[in-house]
Symmetry: C2
Subunit: 272 residues, 2 copies
DNA sequence: GTTGACAACTGGTTGAACCAATATTAAATT
DNA sequence: AATTTAATATTGGTTCAACCAGTTGTCAAC
């Protein structure tokens, strides 16, 4: 097993409905369509996107399922307040879409401790429930990660670390933990695809992994938590510092060219 | 504001696509369609459900979006391993569908501490960030809840408690926490609709709420966490006991009439 | 002013035809 | 006989046009 052989970022998905879905989602997340606003009728929207009603409907259904809009027979489609109704799954597209970097930073800041709690919880269960196969898998990935770390390829480490987390969660042998963790893992997956340089790599990374493996070997739950918390608080702290400085930097540029994002416009017409 | 005026359980949704979606989802969650299996083609399935391809496709899309199936152009639709790819949103339909009560109990057991962590996290932030309006709202709901508690209507308390949690999360003033908490809140909403009697009500419930409000008034984060943890560990403990006894009871009945859930069957034909 | 039929929206459903990706089969080639 | 290649069947993807079904607003009748 090599660390390199994971599929890269998903293909750009030549899907028409998916494309329209992403476009509309972007409009909503960017604030160009605000909560309570009504979308044009399906017939009109289909015409604007140069497609037919069925395909257009497929896109709207996706919006509906992610709670970005509400569809009511006879009444049309209205935009939802996604800040209130969304889930962690919205994080990646929101990070890509939102023009308000300060808000993005805030959300990440609050998300990091939540993620840490999930990891801690998974670690506890994994320490208790991991079998020989799980530990072997974690050991293998750890070795690969350390090798990759010495070579110094952040993107490679990112993918490898994904696998490590995946193995950790498998080791917890808990459907519940898997379901709780999945949205975080997916968000992480998108994030390292888009901003591979943003993720902090500490010199203590290999040691952290080794300490953790040792805790597994000794069935030492508290030690594992201690090591985990230590490392993540370090890394997350640095990440938050980076975010803060990026925010203040963005703040300077902001006054220059930011259009006031007038809410009424629906610039979805295909440029012919 | 009255505690009663929330909309009851959602209307049975006369939607054809939604109905088919739920039926197929049930087959998957019940294990009658297992991971890796292929669904019949869209044309065939549409015929079986007595509908047309477009409507049928809508149902399949919903399955796809919830990661219950994978759709590939030219290859058909295959069932996914939802235990691996699912999220917390699957909890309510899984609880309703799964014939394996022991597994359900396991999942709930692991989900409860995760939920507690989310509540604790939200509480910490709420203590720090709640403004006057938030506290007033929490106070109002607390009063209503205590009144309802004295009257002794579990369903009513369930709905009121939903509101209480909602207010708590609003008070945290964090989009991230809202997004993390939403799947739990929704699961909770479904659960008290279906099993209103299962939820444990402790005599200490009113005191717990009052203590919490006091912690809010004093900005005492640690006290709030202490109170919260105390109450939930009590309640969750009792719930887990109830689950355990229900499991052993179900275990006795199990050997009698359980069909081995042969995986090949797709009993989706409309009985004419 | 109130009521009630009607018209004009809206999304929901239908069926048939065709396009595009894949899998299978049969034929041609080696 | 094994391999390659071409034809074909099967799958999902897209399009079209019509109609059904809830909702809202209008306007005439009362």
């Amino acid at each position: 097993m090599s660390i390199e052989d994971s599929e890269g970022p998903a293909p750009p998905s030549t899907n028409i409905a998916e494309t329209i879905f992403r476009d509309l989602r972007g409009l909503i997340l960017r604030g160009e369509l605000t909560s309570g606003e009504r979308l044009p009728g399906e017939r009109e929207l289909a015409a604007k996107y140069g497609t037919n009603r069925n395909t257009l409907r497929e896109a709207v259904r996706k919006l509906e399922q992610q709670r970005l809009v509400t569809v009511r027979h006879g009444q049309g489609v209205t935009v939802t307040d996604f800040r209130k109704t969304g889930t962690v799954e919205l994080l990646p597209p929101f990070l890509e879409s939102s023009p308000d970097f300060a808000e993005v930073a805030h959300i990440i800041e609050d998300m990091l401790p939540a993620r840490l709690q999930v990891i801690e919880f998974a670690t506890r269960r994994a320490i208790r429930r991991a079998d020989k196969t799980d530990i072997e898998r974690l050991t293998d990935i750890t070795e690969l990660l350390i090798t990759a770390f010495q070579r110094g390829d952040p993107a490679l480490i990112g993918r490898g670390f994904q696998r490590w987390l995946d193995a950790l969660i498998d080791a917890a042998h808990s459907v519940a933990i898997r379901w709780v963790a999945n949205p975080y893992l997916e968000a992480y997956r998108h994030l390292i695809d888009r901003f591979p340089t943003l993720w902090v790599l500490e010199p203590t990374f290999p040691k952290h992994l080794e300490d953790l493996l040792e805790a597994f070997a000794n069935n030492d739950e508290e030690r594992a938590i201690e090591v985990t918390r230590q490392y993540y608080e370090l890394v997350d702290g640095k990440l938050m510092q980076a975010l803060a400085s990026a925010v203040s930097q963005a703040g300077k540029e902001k006054s220059v060219d930011e259009p006031p994002a007038s809410s009424k416009r629906l610039s979805v017409t295909r440029e012919g």
